[in-house]
């Protein structure tokens, strides 16, 4: 395979990296005033990358390796990358106002977003442990900076520090696991590992696999590696939290899927127990932990833990249908969570201070009806109540679990989802049933509205009309994961 062809396959990443580098130079030689222009250019670059990648979703996607098996182009990678790029675009659109008002917006922010997107794209496309690790660190290091981007705010700094220390620990765990895997398999290539492990799978290799999965569980914030999530989500600036809950999460789940079905695909029985435990624990802890929360960002952090639990049910099925379920879940989860955080961003009082607690949003239905209705739809969707599209996400993963004979897991998981419904409807109760307490800001910027409207449209009942298309794309994506050469 020629070098030129490899470059073509990685075109999205190459393009984004080059734009990132150029924009970095521009940032260095212009004042902070240019930050908005740089954001626009970064969005344009991401949009271009999304289109370049997304075209593959419409056709029968090619499966091809680039750079001698370090990197793979397939339907799954394209699917995840389109989601990542779109989520990053949405985050970039709603970010500038928040930081600009605090005098903290810099051109570095969109540039780092670009690098983070490149790293995330590499995570989901990597077919070699080395590529995987580079992508992971590229995305993580940007994230640490985002968390502490408000330099003067101690909460932001604390979040950044916590995220960095615990993230570094998780990276260490992954690296340790990778070294064990490499030691026993003798290769870092996914296909090679698969072949080696199918020939023999000693206990040491099992340890390696468990360490890799544990580190990944940290990255996706699955219980019992979830402790950092509420603190980081609460402390980080809200647009950053929106980003954390979307693009890096898609990347981490995509990477987890590729590893689980790729190099460790022959050992599904071995990792299934871990995944089932993490899944149920995440659902229950995510639901119970959220009940007592007053801070909305903290609550949404627990909600994301809860959602990861449902995602892992699809993974536990370890079938193509389960993988397709996870892909569909991701595609629905991203607009749900992004929409919720964007709505939170739009909640400010007259002086521009963010409204972040339950007490602040009571009676929102009378003061900001449109916003309250959007939030209501998002919350019912997160709770998985039909006819909102969040139901479909849960439906497909549970269907996969039932088809894989994991009826008990599905039954316990869905029964636990009722606990989660409690705090989602508490949101609605506060907005609709209680009397209004604070007067929120009356108008929000058009950019925020556009993102929110698109997210709400994506989770509205109308989205059911897209299920045949979404199902077909997700099936292709899942099939490409199992197509292992």
């Amino acid at each position: 395979m020629g070098f030129a062809q490899s470059l073509y396959f990685t075109g999205a990443e190459v393009g984004l990296s080059l734009s990132g580098l150029v924009l970095l130079l521009v940032t260095a030689w212009t004042s902070h005033k240019a930050a908005r222009a740089i954001t626009v250019l970064a969005v344009a670059a991401l949009f271009g990358a999304a289109i370049f990648t997304g075209v593959a979703l419409w056709e029968t996607s090619p499966v091809a390796d680039a750079f001698g098996g370090l990197y793979r182009v397939d339907a799954f990678g394209s699917f995840a990358k389109v989601l990542i790029y779109l989520a990053t675009i949405a985050c970039l659109i709603v970010t500038p106002r928040f930081f600009a008002e605090r005098g903290a917006y810099r051109g570095e922010y969109p540039v780092l977003m670009l690098f983070s997107a490149v790293g995330a794209g590499m995570m989901v496309s990597a077919t070699d442990l080395m590529t995987l690790y580079i992508g992971l660190e590229m995305s993580s290091l940007s994230s640490y900076i985002f968390a502490s981007f408000l330099k003067g705010d101690w909460r932001s700094n604390e979040a950044g520090l916590k995220y960095f220390i615990l993230g570094a620990l998780a990276s260490g765990i992954i690296l340790y696991g990778m070294s064990l895997v490499y030691g026993f398999a003798g290769t870092t290539n996914y296909a090679g590992i698969r072949v080696a492990f199918e020939a023999s799978f000693p206990t040491g290799a099992l340890f390696g696999m468990v360490f890799v999965l544990a580190g990944l569980a940290f990255k996706i914030a699955a219980v019992p590696f979830h402790m950092w999530t509420p603190d980081v989500y609460e402390g980080a600036p809200t647009p950053v939290t929106a980003f954390f809950a979307s693009a890096p999460k898609v990347a981490a789940v995509g990477m987890l899927m590729r590893i689980a079905f790729g190099p460790f695909g022959g050992e599904a029985e071995a990792w299934r127990q871990i995944v089932i435990f993490a899944s149920l624990a995440s659902i229950v802890v995510g639901a119970l932990g959220a009940i007592g929360q007053q801070n909305l960002k903290r609550l949404l952090a627990y909600s994301s833990i809860n959602n990861i639990g449902f995602l892992l049910i699809g993974l536990a099925a370890a079938t193509p249908a389960g993988a397709a379920g996870v892909a569909i879940y991701l595609a629905i989860y991203v607009p749900m969570t992004l929409g919720s955080f964007v709505a939170l961003l739009m909640l400010r009082d007259r002086e521009g201070r963010p409204l972040e607690t339950f007490a602040d949003i009571s009676g929102l239905a009378t003061t900001r009806p449109a916003l309250a209705w959007c939030l209501m739809l998002l919350m019912f969707s997160l709770a998985g109540i039909p006819p909102l599209f969040g139901f479909w996400a849960k439906f497909v993963v549970f269907q996969a679990a039932v088809e894989a004979d994991l009826v008990a897991l599905a039954a316990i998981g869905i029964a636990a989802s009722v606990i989660g419904a409690f705090y989602y409807i508490k949101f609605i109760k506060t907005m609709f049933f209680d009397d209004s307490a604070r007067a929120p800001e009356e108008r929000s910027p058009a950019g925020h509205w556009a993102v929110l409207a698109l997210c709400v449209l994506a989770i509205s009942p109308l989205a059911y009309l897209a299920t045949p298309w979404l199902g077909a794309v997700a099936d292709r994506a899942a099939a490409s994961l199992f197509l292992f050469s």
């Binding site: 139901f391 269907q399 109760k429």
Partner: protein, 515 residues
């Protein structure tokens, strides 16, 4: 074929609901009334064009819009009658909310219209998951109706309603996924013919039971109902008692019985036991209530228990009786809640002791209230009599013991309803403000008179309502025949003697030798 009448019936209230969100109060009221009346007209067209004795599923529509399930609609006689009940009650609910609801009217009307779409959708869905979506989605508008426009303790009631019903339904979803995985189809008519393995039926039945027993509600999962009823606005109570509770009964008749006949037979005594307990216990509870709405709510639980007992009697009478009971209870309890609403609007209390002697200053009101009280008790000539009589005949064939206990409940029912009526309408006028209340207004006449007419119609000539359902119930009975347990009320034929009973001893002996 041709005109997609069911889709239109679903679309009219849905479209009106969306428009209502953006209208001011008077316009929203008018639009909601117009939309529900249009749906009533469509419902009547549906009934008029329903071919009695024709194909089992009529007005079928089908479109492959979604992955994993279909947009498939169609009705049989059972669904037809429940749809007619829904569309009949909806304009009355809108009228009942005309003055009582004065804030956020647009949103209120939107919630009600959405509710109507979903209720009709539940009854005409022919796809398992389409049914589930409609069934579950009803939680959203009802949660809002109770929570936003309800009484003082509305938050607690709305949470309880939401979480109870949700917990009941989610297990049903897992059972549905399993069924579809095994049977390979999501079509309800096809699944009604599918024979699941008997062991699997037990689990599936229990999962569906969890959902329908909460929705119905059956004792002891009924505790959400009195709270929800008391806190909901009048129209909310009407729709809750009139139609939403019927979804549980509809679920039993559409899913549990035809899809899992063996398991249904196996659990017959669970149902009978819970029904007997419910009838006696909730009737006794109703007897000591001071809150009118709570009393009627408990009476609903008792009446629904007769429905469940009738459904699981495994014979035509039981099934027909249960269906008539559902229709009759939908009308009667709805009307009773409206009667409570009428005086609540004037005095803003549901405390029974605050009223008294209303027949003096509100004679017309007292008349209507009496008609519905009698119908609730089951006086001959009203729908309640037909319902109770047929269902108890059915239950008697299955178990005379259950019938005995259920009949006790009916006597208790007469006690609490008459006691309520006596305290409210008769006796001395204890409070000046209650004595000064005006009689029914024209709008209230419009609400109560049609229901009273329907109640009497069903009481005198139930054939109109039974005829469309007869063939479907016979089909269901044939499906159940293989599993039906033998009842204790049938005469056990003994071995015939070979000689006459009055034969003298030696002749008998001779006859015996001759053989």
């Amino acid at each position: 074929m041709g005109f997609p009448i069911l889709s239109v019936t679903l679309a009219v209230p849905l479209a009106a609901a969306i428009v209502c969100l953006f209208l001011n109060a008077p316009a929203a009221r008018t639009l909601a009334l117009a939309a529900t009346l249009a749906d009533l007209a469509l419902g009547i067209v549906l009934w008029a064009n329903y071919d009695i004795g024709g194909a089992q599923w009529q007005f079928t529509e089908r479109a492959d819009l979604f992955a994993g399930f279909q947009y498939a609609l169609g009705i049989d006689g059972i669904a037809l009658m429940l749809i007619v009940l829904s569309v009949f009650l909806m304009p009355i609910c809108i009228l009942a909310s005309w003055d009582a609801i004065d804030r956020r009217v647009g949103e209120y009307m939107a919630a009600f219209l959405l509710m109507e779409t979903l209720m009709i959708g539940v009854f005409c869905a022919q796809d398992l998951f389409l049914f589930y979506i409609m069934f579950e989605a009803g939680l959203i508008p009802m949660y809002l109706i109770i929570g936003v426009w309800g009484g003082a303790n509305r938050i607690y009631a709305s949470y309880k309603f939401f979480l109870y019903t949700l917990l009941g339904s989610v297990l049903m979803l897992i059972a549905m996924l399993w069924m579809v995985n095994v049977a390979g189809t999501t079509s309800i008519p096809a699944l009604m013919q599918y024979d699941f393995a008997p062991q699997a039926q037990t689990w599936l039945w229990l999962a569906f039971f969890a959902s329908f027993a909460v929705k119905m509600p059956m004792w002891p999962a009924h505790t959400w109902l009195p709270d929800a009823h008391v806190q909901a606005p009048t129209a909310g109570s009407v729709i809750l008692a009139g139609v939403l509770l019927k979804m549980g009964g509809y679920g039993f008749i559409r899913f549990s019985l035809p899809m899992f006949p063996e398991a249904s037979a196996q659990f017959m005594w669970l149902i009978f036991g819970l029904s007997m307990a419910a009838v006696v216990i909730t009737s006794l509870i109703a007897l000591v209530q001071h809150d009118m709405k709570k009393l009627i709510a408990y009476s609903s639980v008792a009446h629904m228990a007769i429905v469940t007992a009738g459904l699981f009697a495994f014979n035509v009478q039981g099934l027909e009786g249960a269906m008539v009971m559902m229709l009759s209870h939908g009308l009667v309890s709805g009307a009773l809640f409206l009667c409570v609403g009428v005086i609540y609007d004037r005095l803003h209390t549901r405390e029974i002791d605050r009223y008294g002697g209303l027949s003096i200053n509100m004679p017309m009101y007292a008349l209507f209230f009496m008609v519905f009280t009698m119908a609730s008790i089951g006086l001959p000539g009203t729908s309640g009599f037909v319902a109770e009589f047929i269902s108890l005949v059915g239950v008697y064939e299955a178990s005379s013991l259950a019938t005995l206990v259920l009949t006790t409940g009916i006597i208790l029912g007469a006690a609490y309803m008459l006691y309520l009526y006596w305290r409210v309408a008769f006796g001395v006028q204890r409070n000046a403000d209650a004595a000064a209340m005006r009689d029914l207004t024209g709008r209230e006449w419009l609400m109560l008179a049609p229901i009273a007419a329907a109640v009497l119609w069903m009481g005198v000539y139930p054939e109109s309502f039974l005829a469309p359902m007869r063939k479907d119930i016979a089909t269901l009975d044939a499906r159940l025949a293989g599993a039906a347990p033998t009842g204790d009320a049938r005469l056990a034929p003994g071995k015939p003697r070979s000689y006459p009973a009055n034969a003298i001893a030696h002749e008998a002996a001779a006859a015996g030798e001759a053989e």
